[in-house]
């Protein structure tokens, strides 16, 4: 008997093919997305393991970096430091992992003098001097994705694979490179990768410029000595590699995990003092390029579950609504079956099995398609980041988690309608009592003044408030997927790009070595270019509320008055610093202020260039991705001991950066290049999520379609009555249009609220000390979202009209009379 019952139900479901397909599609998309994201994040994890891990095949990322770009440590100094550290390590009472290596390096900012069809270009660059027998931070040459070998001789160089293709640099080419007044020719012997340069962003910025606008090259230690003229083995960086990876604090978590690396840092500090080494000490969590990529990976992992759950919830709402509608439309049939003696369990079984069957089809299709989705995303990520992702696989655990979770949600969605179906009372249904409803007095009062047709539309829309609410929730979640990313991107673009575009007027930023500004100023004077000195350095450290050291950027400008300097700051609260105050006055960026819970007007003690200083926060600024403290340049110059770290140039028409300026500089960055880079990365980030955004849009369409079709289907009798009584299709169409407009407006409003909530939530989860995401509600995005939902709702009206048009009034009259 139950087989026949289930067959009956299956045939009933088959009659609603369109809705059935929509539900299967949603389950499919949920599983597909879950497996895609799960496999994607797992494969990225594998890639980072290979690139950073302590293995001979990878790049062996260091655990601790000591650096001071304005210092040159002799080989003896470095050797002594490493010996002291090693000795201290052995004698230490602390339980430490063993020290694998302690190596000196030279890393310098510089320029590549690149010749192409348009002539010679000076490209901002970074040069590493890496000994041939280096243990940590090595060049990574994965088979099939790289070429050549590491640099050994003093005229050899490996060019980072991110830029080799776009600059058309090939093995055997000769390139001319410079670093702070020195330059030389080098032969390209390899094209490879480096664990510190997954993201090709110049130091101090989180945004990679467009590909080819920033170059990283890896020389041998003798090559670096030849370039700089320093003795072989002299260094400005020391890298420490420890067997295993000591735990370091993850800035994204509330708890402090850095105890193991702190023990190492304490020993490092002692050895630094003993050897007069003055340097910034950073672990992996404090090394921005590393930390940003870790957060990117964490973000991918974190988003897998919520996105899958959100999609599953939307599918679940659709299943609940569809099954409930089915139960409702079959209530007479169910009542007859109950009257004929069919027990509740037999009835319930079918309604419980139906969603499971639908879920199984969706899950099966999703599981089959998931790996393709993962590969698509990995290909995109590979193109975006430029690092090959070789080891790709979806772990079984991802399949089981995603499918298990989805089937659970699907089962639960079917449980309520199934229970309702089994609880229908035959007498009530067959007696027609269940069809009698009493309208809402509240709605009656609210719409009494309106034309009756309009009032009817409103009352019909709110006739099933729970269903309407569930629809709005589903639309809200769909738009959360679609709109929050759009809102975040728009907010970021407005604050970051807007600030750089509208509040800065320089053309080129010329980085200089200490005391190197006079040459650049002379060049500017000779070329009638305006110039402005600026100090910009990452020499600020403060201790946050959890006792964790936080590194921040110090910026010194000559003036903060609008239109007086080449870089103005968007001050959202407070005022600008004044000259010679008792306590140094500074402006802090809003991200840092929010993170630290600091207020304008407070005084704080911070470490500036290694010394403790009191500063008064007199303003808060917007538009910085990195945590930044602004000073008057004269104040900051006294603290850090240099007049400038770079010079802004405003070039007259026809004047361009030339070789002479390139030789004088330690790297040159164009404002337009920076802008293009930011816009490009924001666009790429948006593209990563674009598939998700369009999924959200598609879900909105499906959910709205489902509800609107149900609304019309449910009102068949009502519409047929009106048709028999002489209502034209046009007048009924207008009623449906008004209903659609109202549902669309409300849905759009709910969608905007959800999207804003999602954007705030995502921004909060993405925001860390390194990476603050401001959420600015851009009205155009809100209008777009509302307009989108409204358009979808209105676009559903013709479906209702078509349904009325093809309504067989004779058959309806039979129904109405029986």
């Amino acid at each position: 008997m139950s087989i026949l019952l289930n067959k009956r139900l299956a045939r009933s479901l088959w009659r609603t093919k369109l809705r059935l397909v929509a539900v299967v599609l949603m389950v499919f998309v949920g599983v597909f997305a879950g497996i895609t994201f799960g496999g994607y994040s797992q494969s990225l994890d594998n890639m980072y393991d290979t690139l950073q891990g302590d293995s001979e095949d990878g790049g062996n990322l260091a655990d601790l970096w000591l650096d001071n770009r304005s210092a040159v440590w002799t080989p003896e100094q470095v050797s002594s430091f490493c010996n002291d550290l090693s000795a201290g390590w052995e004698n230490s009472s602390a339980e430490l992992m063993s020290l694998d290596s302690c190596e000196g390096r030279t890393i310098l900012q510089g320029a590549l003098f690149h010749n192409d069809s348009s002539g010679e270009r000076i490209i901002n660059s970074l040069w590493h001097g890496i000994p041939a027998d280096a243990n940590a931070d090595r060049v990574w040459l994965p088979e099939g994705y790289s070429e050549g070998r590491t640099a050994v001789a003093d005229d050899e160089i490996v060019i980072d694979a991110h830029v080799a293709e776009v600059l058309e640099i090939k093995l055997g080419n000769t390139v001319r490179i410079g670093a702070g007044g020195d330059s030389g020719n080098f032969t390209v012997v390899g094209i490879g990768f480096h664990p510190l340069h997954v993201m090709m962003a110049p130091e101090g910025t989180l945004f990679p410029p467009e590909i080819g606008e920033f170059v990283v090259g890896y020389l041998s230690d003798s090559g670096m000595a030849r370039l700089t003229g320093e003795s072989l083995g002299s260094s400005n960086t020391i890298v420490l590699e420890i067997d295993g990876t000591p735990s370091f604090d993850l800035p994204t978590t509330a708890v402090y995990e850095g105890d193991e690396i702190d023990a190492v840092k304490a020993m490092v500090g002692t050895s630094m003092d003993e050897n007069n080494i003055d340097a910034r000490v950073r672990d992996r969590g404090q090394n921005e390029p590393i930390e940003i990529m870790r957060q990117d990976l964490e973000g991918s992992k974190r988003t897998t579950v919520p996105f899958t759950v959100m999609i599953a919830v939307i599918a679940s709402i659709t299943i609940v609504l569809s099954l409930q509608r089915l139960v409702q439309s079959q209530s007479r049939e169910i009542a007859v079956l109950r009257t004929l003696g069919v027990d509740r369990t037999s009835l319930m079984t079918g309604y419980l099995m139906a969603p499971l069957f639908i879920g199984a089809i969706g899950c099966g299709l999703g599981a089959l398609a998931g790996p393709s989705g993962m590969n698509g995303m990995l290909d995109f990520y590979q193109d975006l980041v430029g690092i090959p992702i070789v080891d790709r696989a979806v772990p079984i655990s991802v399949y089981t988690t995603v499918i298990g979770l989805t089937m659970l949600v699907v089962f639960l969605s079917g449980a309520f309608p199934a229970w309702k179906a089994s609880r229908l009372e035959p007498l009530e249904i067959l007696g027609g009592h269940s069809e009698m409803r009493i309208g809402s007095n509240f709605l009656k009062t609210l719409t009494a003044w309106m034309p009756t047709t309009l009032g009817l539309s409103i009352r019909s829309s709110f006739r099933k408030p729970i269903r309407l609410m569930m629809t709005f929730i589903a639309v809200g979640i769909s738009l959360m997927l679609f709109g929050s990313i759009q809102m975040m991107s728009a907010g970021l673009e407005e604050t970051l790009v807007g600030g750089l575009e509208e509040q800065q007027s320089w053309d080129q930023q010329v980085y200089i070595m200490p005391e190197g500004e006079s040459g650049v100023i002379d060049w500017a004077n000779q070329n009638n270019a305006s110039f402005e000195l600026i100090i910009e350095t990452q020499l600020g450290i403060l201790v946050d509320g959890d006792g964790v050291d936080r590194i921040f950027t110090l910026v010194g400008l000559d003036s903060y008055e609008q239109n007086t300097g080449m870089r103005s700051v968007d001050i959202v609260e407070g005022t600008t610093p004044s000259l010679n105050p008792v306590i140094t006055e500074v402006i802090m960026d809003e991200g840092a202020m929010a993170f630290l819970s600091w207020k304008v007007g407070e005084q704080h003690q911070v470490l500036l260039n290694g010394d403790e200083h009191d500063v008064e926060i007199i303003g808060s600024s917007r538009g910085e991705m990195a945590r930044t403290m602004y000073f008057l340049r004269s104040d900051l110059s006294d603290i850090v001991g240099v007049n400038a770290t770079s010079v802004y140039l405003d070039l007259p028409d026809g004047v361009e950066v030339d070789n002479e300026l390139g030789e004088l500089s330690a790297g040159i960055v164009g404002r337009q290049t920076l802008l293009d880079g930011i816009e490009s990365i924001l666009e790429q980030q948006t593209q990563i999520f674009q598939s998700m955004m369009y999924l959200g849009l598609m879900f909105t369409v499906v959910v709205m379609f489902n509800t609107m079709v149900m609304n019309v289907a449910e009102r068949d009798f009502e519409l047929a009555t009106l048709r028999v009584l002489g209502a034209s299709i046009k007048s009924l169409g207008l009623m449906l249009l008004f209903e659609s407009l109202m549902i669309g407006l409300l849905g759009g409003l709910v969608g905007v609220l959800f999207a804003y909530g999602g954007a705030v939530g995502s921004a909060a989860s993405f925001s860390t000390w390194q990476f603050h995401v401001p959420v600015v509600l851009v009205p155009s995005v809100a209008y777009q979202l509302m307009g989108g939902v409204l358009a979808i709702a209105v676009a559903m009206t013709p479906i209702g009209v078509w349904r009325i048009h093809r309504m067989d009034l004779i058959e309806k009259i039979k129904d109405l009379s029986n």
Binding site: G439, T452, G726, I729, K814
Partner: protein
């Protein structure tokens, strides 16, 4: 005065079992002010005839003149306009819109016909004895009261012809009588011609003419003198 005239009306349906003749050569004239009851067993064709009269259905053959004009057929919107301008309809299960109050149910039909008149709507409710229920929802009044609202609704736009299909089929005898009395009263006051389909021979006392149908043909057509009952 002649309101409508059907000549040799046929209505065939093609079914898997073959062609079914629902109406087989109906010739009928109905005059203004008549109250006609169509009686017949199930499947006799009385509902099909009612559907053709209301222009819900189109005859397969024959002519149908209403006030001397051919009634549109096979064109949904023209047929709707014909219904809107000429026909009132009362259903067995009332089919009032549950989200609208009693008064609003009447106003809606007036509004759709472009003849909104709240005073007339209230007047009609008074006519069917429901002036106290104007602001109540259909779910809050009895079945008989709902059918009286449906009658008021059907005549609110001043139709020329009022049709009803088993309009008391869902009511007990006492309530049926009350509904029919209200209907007769309303038709007389508004000068509306009425045609009702029913199984209930007892309702013949509310009619001026009784037509019996079987197998798609009119088998008898008799005038009834109901002056005693009405008095």
């Amino acid at each position: 005065m002649k309101l409508l005239e059907m000549n040799n009306i046929e209505r065939y349906y093609k079914t898997p079992a073959g062609v079914v003749k629902a109406l087989d050569g109906i010739n009928l004239e109905i005059h203004e002010g008549e109250r006609v009851i169509l009686l017949g067993p199930s499947g006799s064709g009385k509902t099909t005839l009612l559907n053709c009269l209301s222009a819900l259905d189109s005859p397969t053959q024959g002519s149908y003149l209403f006030q001397e004009s051919e009634v549109p057929r096979k064109h949904s919107e023209k047929m709707t306009t014909f219904r809107r301008n000429n026909i009132g309809y009362v259903f067995q299960f009332f089919n009032l819109l549950q989200d609208l109050t009693v008064l609003e149910n009447i106003l809606l039909i007036q509004e759709l016909a472009g003849k909104k008149d709240a005073e007339r709507a209230k007047d009609l409710l008074e006519l069917v004895g429901l002036e106290a229920e104007v602001n109540r929802f259909p779910g809050e009044i009895s079945g008989g009261q709902q059918q009286r609202v449906a009658i008021a609704r059907s005549i609110a736009k001043r139709p020329t012809l009022l049709l009803g299909d088993e309009l008391t089929g869902n009511l007990d005898t006492e309530t049926s009588n009350k509904v029919m009395e209200a209907l007769v009263h309303a038709c007389e006051r508004e000068n509306i011609t009425a045609v009702f389909v029913t199984h209930d021979e007892g309702l013949a006392r509310f009619a001026t003419r009784v037509i019996r149908i079987d197998s798609g043909r009119i088998i008898s057509d008799e005038s009834v003198n109901n002056s005693d009952e009405e008095a």
